[in-house]
Symmetry: C2
Subunit: 329 residues, 2 copies
């Protein structure tokens, strides 16, 4: 931590991504050099290699669930990231916009049917929360990240019926692609920041299905034992407890072992806050599990976290402490 | 079950999909009318409405993990599928092919570099298991389902560098799209069956990264209390125990409740075989959990399953038994 000059933080870019917003919530650009990178893998690589002091990656969205790419990197099946720990988390309210080029001649024609087509599975479809800004009849292509499509179903099925869908790597990449459109018929779902960066018009605001759409981001680093001095805002905020994450596998020959590991947390009265699993890739339908629980490995006055980790080491086939961090209100 | 004539089974199509293969493993076409449908939702709709007696849907792949669309339908947040239960499972070995049109003039030029580009995260990339059949230099577009792309990384990054990727709804849909290509430059990742159905050439066989790539499919129905007489092969096979699935939510104000529910299985010595979670969509970062465990609700001589379900009803906020089924070797 004694390196001269600014330290660096890498995050899933491009500029104006939601991960960029998350990074701005936690790190000050006065003190940190911001490095947008292309993939979540790149963030992990740069943190592990020591090119940067911290990284920010998406972990889960309140509508769509876990980001499996991040879980797979935390699983670290090939041992590429031995030093990486989770050192913090932050939440971003996700408000998607429809962005593109306005169609001037159609501007007067209203905003589409405003009605979703009833289907067998959804005979009385709910209305979308937002209305378009002007006509969308000129839109023939829609670009975005798969997660964003999943979060804007009502708007798309009401106002963009029959439009061709193109899945790309990020919402800000989608806005960039649409900025190169010469036909005026392409649109993207992205943040308002991305629209402004790429010179696009906002054709609809807050088009997400739910008004409580949030994404949780993890801050990763390689200095788990050092007090987290990166937290821009921590001085101003009250602590709201701690969280830790572990991954583990269980012996295939003893399927009861999963319950054994889970009972370690109960034995030490540690609340579980999330469970995820991914294929172990050692054999079909064996898993690596991820547990988050309340408690901090390095701030553990009654020894409950240490006790639980010790028990896990006895019953799991393999396990890894992935980090502990303070939560802030 | 007294309906005259053939009963029907719907499955995620189109014809020649991997789900079609799964359906053929369990149901006899002599006795059942096979109905391919467009989405997993359609399978659930037709089973719930009684249009068909059974449905077959993908549940998890040994490389890519869970199929979240199926989990979300089993979550049944809007109460559309009150009568649906899981009545069985079957596994399909997944062997992907690269299919398209051969390029005759390039046929002599060999099969690409055969070398993957090293990256920071993968400095010594492993070689793909399969080689192309002839040259792939003419391929400019590649269509497939996102899960299939995820299972063929090595082959794609070795032999199809820089090819444009198009994600579509199924591997057999991808083959169908490529069959309409007039440029000869499009290819799909699909099954060999789909290639033959759509009159395409096989440009590579078994191009998946792992030779133990399997998908598990669930058989759903609405007759959980009736003996499962649909099993084509059960007479010839030895039973290998039973499995059950439940979903549940826990009170938000009592985060220890998750451990309480999990300990119900341990208390009755029931082995957990899988855990999944999806957003509850009731509030951000609350979840609906899915547990599979060994045991059968209607074949429960020592009352352990009944005991555990009774305990779950006391500690979960809400819960649902989703089905029990026999496993066969």
């Amino acid at each position: 931590m004694a390196a001269p000059g600014k330290r660096s933080v890498s995050f899933l870019g491009p500029v104006a991504s939601y991960t960029h917003q998350a990074t701005r919530q936690v790190f000050s650009e006065d003190e940190w050099d911001f490095r947008p990178v292309v993939t979540i893998d790149d963030v992990f690589d740069q943190v592990q290699d020591g090119q940067v002091s911290a990284g920010v990656v998406p972990f889960e969205n309140s509508t769509n669930g876990s980001v499996v790419f991040t879980l797979d990197l935390l699983a670290d099946r090939e041992g590429l990231y031995p030093d990486i720990t989770v050192d913090g988390e932050t939440y971003v309210d996700v408000h998607h916009c429809l962005v593109g080029h306005r169609h001037m001649q159609l501007e007067e024609e209203g905003d589409g049917s405003g009605v979703r087509t009833p289907t067998a599975s959804d005979p009385r479809p709910s209305k979308p929360r937002a209305q378009p800004v002007g006509s969308l009849k000129h839109i023939q292509r829609l670009y975005s990240h798969p997660q964003a499509f999943g979060q804007c179903n009502h708007f798309i099925s009401t106002y963009l019926k029959g439009v061709e869908i193109f899945e790309v790597s990020s919402t800000s990449k989608a806005a960039e692609i649409v900025s190169h459109d010469t036909t005026g018929t392409w649109a993207a779902i992205s943040s308002e920041l991305a629209a402004s960066v790429h010179g696009l018009s906002v054709l609809g605001r807050s088009i997400e299905d739910r008004d409580d759409n949030k994404t949780r981001f993890l801050i990763i680093g390689t200095n788990p034992s050092i007090p987290d001095d990166w937290a821009l805002v921590r001085k101003a905020l009250a602590e709201a407890g701690s969280k830790s994450m572990v991954s583990f596998t269980v012996p295939h020959s003893s399927p009861g072992a999963l319950a054994d590991v889970l009972s370690c947390f109960r034995e030490f009265n540690l609340n579980l806050t999330s469970i995820n699993s991914r294929p172990s890739l050692l054999a079909p339908f064996q898993y690596i599990f991820f547990i988050e629980f309340e408690g901090h490995r390095h701030d553990d006055p009654d020894g409950r976290v240490g006790g639980a980790l010790n028990r896990i080491s006895q019953v799991a086939e393999s396990w890894r402490w992935l980090g502990s961090w303070k939560r802030f209100r």
